[in-house]
Subunit: 151 residues, 2 copies
DNA sequence: TAGAACCTTGGAGTGCACTCCAAGCAAGCG
DNA sequence: CGCTTGCTTGGAGTGCACTCCAAGGTTCTA
């Protein structure tokens, strides 16, 4: 669990996941919920805990998200898939808000995350091997039915 | 998110993860905790919720785990890594207890799990691509420092 | 201008997977 | 035998990541 030089030639363009209407830059919370797959509740919660880099408001106080916010949310959603704790993502968001002098720490955080993701992939491939082994056994036992496997 | 014919040529032997002393077949709960990395609390909890296929007891009622139990726990630990809900693992354990006529359902459950794991790996590889992209950006910006990336 | 559908807030509730506790019995050693 | 360490139970507590609620203000469509 350390090797696996996972190739990443798919989708190596700029991180823009969910389709969104062109020429618009102010979205209500429910529009953003539709684009990202997150609920409005979750979006408000993200803002509360400091995971959103301060969202714009209309003159009456309603949230108006921008394309930049959508980019950020797409990135956060990717990180979420890795099982990265929300607290760590908040940390990264804080570093961004603090400006240029956190550059190096951000880079290190990203690199640590990448190591975690690679390890995670290696683990999953190990599990896949076990599943393949067991499924092969089931397929074999189907042809010569005799005993029912103990795990 | 559906492709990725993940190769699984590593560790494709019989599923036996943690080293254990030869010629022994009765382990106390703390020994099992040491071998598996699970806590004694968790092992008791697994039994309570029906995830252990009925553990043997000493004449005074203390648990005595067997090598077969260790095999099962190794398998469960693998499944746990995939993020499979405990309830689903309990379901599989129930099917095992119910005997031969659940053979097909068990096979299907394993195959569904394998699909999930493959999808998970594909997702992670997508995330890895995003991380690589961003880390490359950071490395480039280090050589020509000018602006600090917005996500 | 009415009504429906949407948005706001703080705080409380949910589900999962553990994790711990207290009180008491069991096992092994000098 | 006494002592320490380990094991037993049901039930309560924890941490995470949401998820929902009530009461009220806003925006859109007819």
């Amino acid at each position: 669990m350390e090797s696996t030089s996972a190739r990443t030639d798919i989708c190596a363009s700029a991180p823009r996941a969910h389709p969104r209407p062109a020429g618009q830059d102010r979205y209500t919370i429910s529009e953003v919920a539709a684009f990202t797959g997150l609920t409005a509740h979750t979006l408000r919660w993200y803002e509360r805990i400091g995971l959103m880099p301060h969202v714009d408001r209309s003159h009456t106080g309603q949230r108006r998200f921008t394309n930049r916010d959508l980019d950020w949310l797409a990135f956060v959603s990717k990180l979420r898939l890795t099982g990265m704790p929300v607290a760590d993502m908040v940390r990264y968001a804080e570093l961004l808000r603090e400006g240029d002098h956190t550059f190096e720490e951000r880079q290190q955080l990203l690199e640590a995350t990448r190591r975690d993701v690679r390890n995670r992939i290696a683990e999953l491939q190990g599990t896949l091997a076990v599943l393949d082994f067991k499924i092969d056994f089931y397929a074999g036992a189907r042809r010569t039915p005799e005993r029912g496997l103990t795990t």
